[in-house]
Amino acid sequence: MVAQNIFFGITAFVMAVGAVRVVTTKNVVHGALWLMVVLAGVAGNFVLLAAEFVAVVQVLVYIGAIVVLFLFGIMLTRAPIGREANLDNSQRIPSLLVGLLVFGLLASVLAKQWGRVHIHTGAVQRTSDVANSIFTQYVVPFEAVSVVLLAALVGAVVIARRD
């Protein structure tokens, strides 16, 4: 177990740093890159949790597509490359407070509720099980998500087209 814990500790640390950098960096592109780091860390956590399929999907979709999409978006909106004067708006402090409040709330509840419960990932969960579940029990949400993706696709095209 120790290896997992170490792995987790590193990953978590990196993710935390990355997340903070996302919201504090003055360079938009850097923000996107830090986001990529966070996303990778998330994938690593998924692996730790014996959810390999999700980890892979995470990497593929999130890092591979969504971050790229973000970069495209940055490019298309002519964000200045490099440092910018101020990327934070006027409600920084209140937001910080809200964020802290939220974190504190969640943390305290979690600590109280779950305490020192352990996860046992003894039983291997296989991808085939995931697939079975999607295509039998959750087939309707699956199809619905397909429709959503279609709608998003069409919608994005419609919204962003030049006319």
């Binding site: 708006n89 409600q91 209140p94 937001s95 809200v98 409040l101 939220v102 709330l105 305290s108 509840v109």
Partner: protein, 672 residues
């Protein structure tokens, strides 16, 4: 035989009818209405005589001094109002029948007399109409069975008295006298209304005389109530029967025609008060504690006694023959009232009976003198004197009347006055018996003076005296006969009068009725004769000691002045009481009304206006409008303030959202 007693309502109904007939048809008749009046009154006289006979022949119960005949009463319901039932009815008993006979006789004789006396008068017809109405009123009072019904008769008589005294109203003095009579008796009538009301409620809501008396005597009514009820009724008696202090109207009422004076102010109306006391004797007996166990005095007796003396003294200084007779009437009424107050019920009633005849006689005689002797003047000193030579019938009858009044044996007044003195003495009212004896002496004395000045000496007038026509003298003779003989019903040891008039109240109250006492009678007679002799000597003998006393002695002169001014009572009433009410008190009341009451009344709206102004400017404008405007302003300011929340910035909204959610979550965690 009893038919008339069971249909007693006929008796007042006849004069009531003749009143209306005379009013509407009198002027067209040859006798100008007098024939209707005389016929009607003759009819009632027949009915009265019939009732007397029927009454006497009624079966009796009891024996000796307790012989009574039971009364006959018929009541009819007039109207009901919930629990209250107002009845009217007719009550026939000895007292009523006796009064009926008296009134009928005198009224009939006065009617006949007036045909001659009022011949050629400008309002001849209305005179007879008023006489009929008056007689009806008196009958109503006498035959009534309840105080309420009696009140009607009482008031009708007051009205007729006013009308008849002011018969020659063209002369202001006459109308003033009529008003004075009316107002003075009205003052007493307040007591009548109060007394009737008190007794109505005290006697458990009945007006009926019989019920009232029996309840009063059987102790069913609280003594204080009875006293005040009797006191209030006494005020009415003081007014109507001219007792001190409301006696001042009767002498002034002599301004009316002489037949009126004879009928109303001698024989009938003025005795209505005495009749009232006799009728409600149970109330007075219990209220004033007249019976055994009394303290020798009660307020009614005091009033009566004072009246006897002051009126008798006043009769000495009058020059007007009618005024002498008027004061004599007041004095004799005092006798009747005092008698009733001292437990001498039979005496008082008997005196009423006899007095009607001889006083009526005296007044009609005075009228005869003025009609034919003194050229329509009543002044004895100026226009009369020595008339016995010219008017023998008038003279004889007048002397008989005076002697009866003075109480000379065996005339009517002797028996009745003696009955009074005997009974009051034996009942223990010694002071009042003494007063009565003094009064008898004074009566004898002033009547001697009156007879002397009118009929003796030399004729001092300007007319041609002669005897009056038959229509005048015949009534005089009839009355003279009655003055002689009426007393014999209760005289010479007979007690027919007492037996015939005694009623249940009398028995229930245990009123004592004493047999004739020769000793008492002798003493009273002797003293009266002495007084008469002294008075005679004053006029006949030139060197009599008292002659010229008022010029020699200051005390006598003051006394004389006091008497001439009628004790200044008229001045007290007119200037003192009425003058002060008219003047300062009325002015004060007006000032109070204008400044105090009106100030309050006007002040209230003024104050309201001021308060309203304050409320408007201070409260309404500032607070209420402020609140109302404030709400609007608040809404506006609130809106302006809240508007800043809607700044269009999405992140701001998101911030709100998250903050709220976090706080709610916190709340949830902490408190749930």
């Amino acid at each position: 035989m009893d038919w008339i007693l069971n249909h007693f309502w006929l008796v007042p109904a006849i004069p009531f009818t003749t009143f209306w007939l005379i009013l509407f048809f009198g002027k067209r008749l040859p006798g100008k209405g007098a024939e209707i009046g005389v016929t009607g009154l003759a009819a009632t006289w027949v009915l009265a005589a019939w009732s007397a006979v029927a009454w006497v022949r009624r079966p009796t119960t009891g024996s000796g001094h307790d012989v009574i005949r039971s009364y006959i009463e018929h009541s009819y319901t007039w109207f009901t109002n919930g629990q209250i039932k107002i009845t009217f009815g007719f009550h026939a008993d000895g007292l009523a029948v006796m009064m009926l006979v008296v009134v009928a006789t005198i009224s009939l004789l006065v009617h006949v007399y007036s045909i001659e006396y009022m011949r050629g008068d400008v309002r001849f017809t209305y005179f007879f109409a008023a006489l009929s109405l008056f007689t009806c009123g008196m009958y109503v009072l006498v035959t009534a069975s309840s105080t309420l019904q009696g009140l009607f008769g009482w008031e009708a008589m007051g009205l007729c008295s006013f009308m008849l005294i002011g018969h020659w109203w063209e002369d202001k003095a006459n109308s003033d006298a009529a008003l004075k009579a009316f107002f003075t008796t009205r003052t007493g009538d307040v007591g009548l209304l109060v007394g009737i009301s008190i007794l109505y409620f005290a006697a458990h809501e009945t007006f009926n005389w019989q019920s009232l008396n029996s309840q009063a005597l059987s102790g069913k009514i609280d003594h204080t109530l009875l006293f005040w009820g009797a006191f209030a009724l006494m005020c009415a008696v003081i007014g109507k029967s001219a007792q001190f202090p409301l006696h001042t109207w009767l002498p002034d009422a002599m301004a009316g025609p002489t037949p009126v004076s004879a009928l109303i102010h001698a024989a009938t109306m003025v005795v209505a008060g005495v009749y009232l006391v006799a009728r409600t004797y149970g109330v007075f007996w219990s209220g004033f504690s007249i019976g055994p166990g009394h303290h020798g005095v009660n307020v009614l007796a005091v009033i009566g006694a004072i009246t006897i003396i002051i009126a008798a003294l006043l009769a000495f200084v009058q020059d007007d023959i009618k005024k002498v007779l008027a004061y004599s009437t007041v004095s004799q009424l005092g006798y009747m009232v005092m008698a009733l107050a001292c437990g001498a019920w039979v005496g008082g009633i008997f005196h009423l009976f006899t007095h009607a005849f001889f006083k009526g006689l005296l007044f009609l005689g005075a009228g005869s003198v003025s009609h034919s002797g003194s050229h329509h003047s009543f002044d004895m000193k100026k226009d009369m004197g020595g008339l016995r030579k010219y008017m023998p019938t008038t003279f004889t009858t007048f002397v008989i009347g005076s002697a009866a009044l003075a109480g000379i044996f065996p005339l009517a007044g002797f028996w009745s006055k003696d009955e009074i003195l005997l009974s009051s003495g034996r009942n223990g009212y010694w002071v009042f018996t003494a007063v009565g004896i003094v009064g008898a002496m004074l009566t004898a004395a002033y009547m001697t003076r009156c007879v002397y000045l009118t009929f003796f000496g030399e004729y001092r007038g300007h007319g041609h005296p002669h005897e009056s026509p038959k229509l005048i003298t015949v009534p005089l003779v009839i009355l003279a006969v009655l003055s002689v003989s009426a007393g014999w019903l209760g005289g010479f040891g007979l007690h027919y009068f007492a037996d015939w008039t005694r009623n249940e109240t009398f028995i229930a109250a245990h009123v004592r009725d004493y047999p004739f006492s020769v000793l008492w009678a002798g003493i009273a007679l002797g003293l009266a004769l002495v007084a008469a002799a002294l008075a005679g000597a004053f006029y006949v003998r030139e060197e009599f000691a008292f002659k010229g006393a008022t010029t020699r002695s200051a005390l006598a002169k003051t006394g004389h002045e006091l008497l001439l001014n009628k004790y200044y009572l008229d001045n007290l009433y007119t200037d003192g009481i009425i003058g002060s009410i008219k003047g300062p008190i009325a002015r004060g009341a007006y000032w109070f009304n204008q400044n105090a009451i009106d100030a309050v009344v006007n002040g209230v709206p003024i104050a309201c206006r001021k308060v309203a102004r304050v409320v408007y400017t201070g409260i309404d404008q500032i607070f209420v409008d402020g609140a109302v405007n404030g709400v609007g302003a608040g809404a506006e300011e609130g809106g302006v303030a809240l508007r800043t929340l809607q700044n269009g910035r999405v992140q701001f909204y998101a911030g709100m959202l998250f903050a709220a959610a976090a706080l709610l979550g916190l709340g949830l965690v902490l408190f749930v």
